[in-house]
Symmetry: C2
Amino acid sequence: MTGITFDRHMMDQGMKRRPSTEATAAWIRLMRIQSRVLGAVEQDLKKAGFPPLAWYDALLELSRAPGGELRPVELEKQMLIPQYSTSRLIDRLVEEGLAARRECKMDKRGLFVEITEAGRDLQKRMWSAYSAAIERHVGSKLSDADAAKLCSLLDRLGCSCVEATPVPPGAAAPR
Amino acid sequence: MTGITFDRHMMDQGMKRRPSTEATAAWIRLMRIQSRVLGAVEQDLKKAGFPPLAWYDALLELSRAPGGELRPVELEKQMLIPQYSTSRLIDRLVEEGLAARRECKMDKRGLFVEITEAGRDLQKRMWSAYSAAIERHVGSKLSDADAAKLCSLLDRLGCSCVEATPVPPGAAAPR
DNA sequence: CTTGATTAAATGCGCCTGCATGGAATAGTC
DNA sequence: GACTATTCCATGCAGGCGCATTTAATCAAG
């Protein structure tokens, strides 16, 4: 799918041999396995008649937000996707009646996106299939300890990945 | 980027709680970190004025093939991408003079794709930037031992990921 | 109040992708 | 040899993404 075809032969082409073979192998696996697992999970969802994962993410964020509504900018920060992408995702959710755009009085260049009942319902139904897919393609292949180990190794590559609103369990609404 | 926004709150929505929180966390990291690292590497390549990683993969496969040529079907299997994707990637390489389509006499519904000198040259120049990016975004953040550990954990998720023609070092041409 | 800079959101354009299909050549069957 | 199935590759179409720009509102000075 993307830049992950090589093996240690790359090393033998008169280059600087900067990344170790271990690092290179890790890079390849990261690309390949992610693509594979993601594809498998998306397929499961699709076969169950559900929309793409991005929709789920958005609906979950909205459903968790106080009042079930969020500014596009907030959503954008939560989901770590570009601005235009957020805008168009909202378009689709609205088209399907899963969310609605509401005017924002305090800042009239902005707006609120509010999840609908249909949206909340879909989010719940999707989680059922989604969680099953995670279990099938990840959980069932790794012990909890190994999963935790994998997490910590991956986190080291992120440098700043866990800053996406973990929202402490019993905490009140952010902001 | 795709379906990875949630945290353990998902668990508290009256569902079956099938995937362990560890497995779920691993899934999230896998999606997020991969997206992040891939984006960073692609950005580096792009800033250095190079085409996307997929081009590199294809050029590498071609350059390694005996005679510098491959059937699209072979390329497709090496790169693990869909058939139409291969076809169009070849289009672009040919347009840029990096490869050429040649007739296949033994099987006239097929053809050969042959890498050009320009193609070989680009592949070599790209590896320089590519390897630097891997080192910067992966190698420098993990010890070799940790990278190896990460590999083995990821491989367990793949079930069948390493079957992509590792081509033994001194081996003769396949087929 | 007017001007200029900044922020929120939307959108036009080109490229890429996935899906489905099409056409051409081969292989298999009787 | 005629028919059907299969394999190899290309392509039309719809949808999604990245990039750059636009519109509109707020903010910051002067």
